[in-house]
């Protein structure tokens, strides 16, 4: 995964040699495709659990798929805006409605998952997660969001600039609790991959908010590599999760 991520960044760094490829394929086409794959992968798990509809995991997978599907719609809308309508920077746009909406079912899904194992929760686990989330929030607010406040942006854009990284951190906090619960077991792998994906997403969204406010973002920007890596991590997380769920419980 590390080598893969490095190669993605190398591809982006040398984008001057193949700008069309980066713009049309990497930044606007591959993300919808990967997020679409993640939806399909998660659907297999749902299909398995749905047969025994009493399973709490049927509901969880339904929430996770709904969230992923909304993110897929967000990616697809962005691609349609840029590649078909020729809008250079569709932000804010309908795509944001899907992306922001996606956080809700994803949060409910992961929260419900963690709550099934709530009897294993300790105060130390909750404290660890809260401390990491609080430190990350402070870093993001101080280094990225406060400077944005001083620049002239319309209210909707400003709200979105704040919403993305903060919602990422909120989702990350529940994933951090999850990884503490499943540490030591095979289930830790998909949770670890999701934590890595969300951490990468925090960086991507914070950098996106900063660069769009600054006016330096363009489709194909190096920060798109973070989104790309985040989606791939997420996709692998869902494949591993599906494997563990189908094979183990």
């Amino acid at each position: 995964m590390f080598l893969f991520s490095v190669s993605i960044f190398v591809i982006y760094i040398f984008q001057d040699y193949y700008p069309h490829f980066i713009f049309s394929i990497f930044s606007n086409t591959i993300c919808p495709v990967i997020s679409g794959f993640a939806v399909v992968t998660a659907s297999f798990s749902l299909e398995r659990y749905w047969r025994g509809s009493k399973s709490p995991f049927a509901k969880i997978w339904l929430y996770l798929i709904s969230g992923l599907f909304l993110w897929f719609l967000g990616e697809t809308s962005w691609g349609v805006y840029t590649l078909i309508f020729g809008v250079e920077l569709p932000y804010p746009s309908v795509a944001d409605v899907f992306w922001i909406g996606g956080y809700i079912p994803l949060f409910i899904g992961y929260f419900t998952y963690v709550m099934i194992f709530r009897k294993a929760l300790t105060l130390k686990m909750i404290a660890k997660s809260l401390i990491i989330s609080a430190i990350t929030t402070i870093i993001v607010i101080v280094t990225v969001l406060l400077p944005i406040l001083t620049w002239k942006e319309n209210l909707v854009t400003l709200i979105l600039d704040f919403a993305y990284p903060l919602l990422d951190i909120l989702l990350l906090s529940i994933l951090l609790i999850g990884i503490n619960i499943f540490w030591g077991g095979r289930l830790k792998i998909p949770w670890l991959l999701m934590v890595s994906a969300l951490s990468t997403n925090v960086c991507a969204d914070a950098a996106f908010s900063y660069t769009t406010a600054q006016g330096t973002y363009y489709p194909g920007h190096l920060l798109d590599a973070f989104y790309f890596v985040s989606y791939v991590l997420m996709y692998v997380a869902y494949i591993v999760a599906m494997h563990v769920h189908m094979k183990e419980f």
């Binding site: 709490p56 099934i116 194992f117 009897k119 077991g185 289930l187 830790k188 419980f249």
Partner: protein, 105 residues
């Protein structure tokens, strides 16, 4: 002793139900595949069962253990010491003693 074993099997069954019917059945099936342990033999090899659920859920296995303890204590009407945090094995050792004493009297 047979009665205790029967109650324990029922409690394990009820405890694993937190994973849903499909999840519970898959656990039994994998336990059989990995360790050759069938549902009715779990009480005699409880440490293998705990090792198995820890391999999958890590620390989360504690939640399953606690769920089993909760069902077992209801069935046996033996309240665990509230001040003490039991592992399943610790609880079983204590519950077995109390169950034997009850049975004798």
């Amino acid at each position: 002793m047979k009665a205790f074993k029967k109650v324990l099997i029922e409690a394990i069954d009820a405890g694993l139900f937190m994973l849903g019917e499909y999840g519970r059945d898959l656990i039994y099936s994998r336990l059989k595949d990995s360790y050759g342990l069938i549902k009715d033999d779990i009480p005699d090899h409880i440490e293998i069962f705990i090792k198995f659920i820890k391999e999958i859920f890590g620390h989360g296995a504690v939640a399953i253990e606690k769920e089993i303890i909760s069902h077992l204590s209801k069935k046996l009407e033996i309240k665990p010491n509230e001040k003490k945090s039991y592992s399943l094995i610790e609880y079983l050792n204590e519950a077995r003693k109390i169950f034997d004493e009850k049975f004798k009297s």
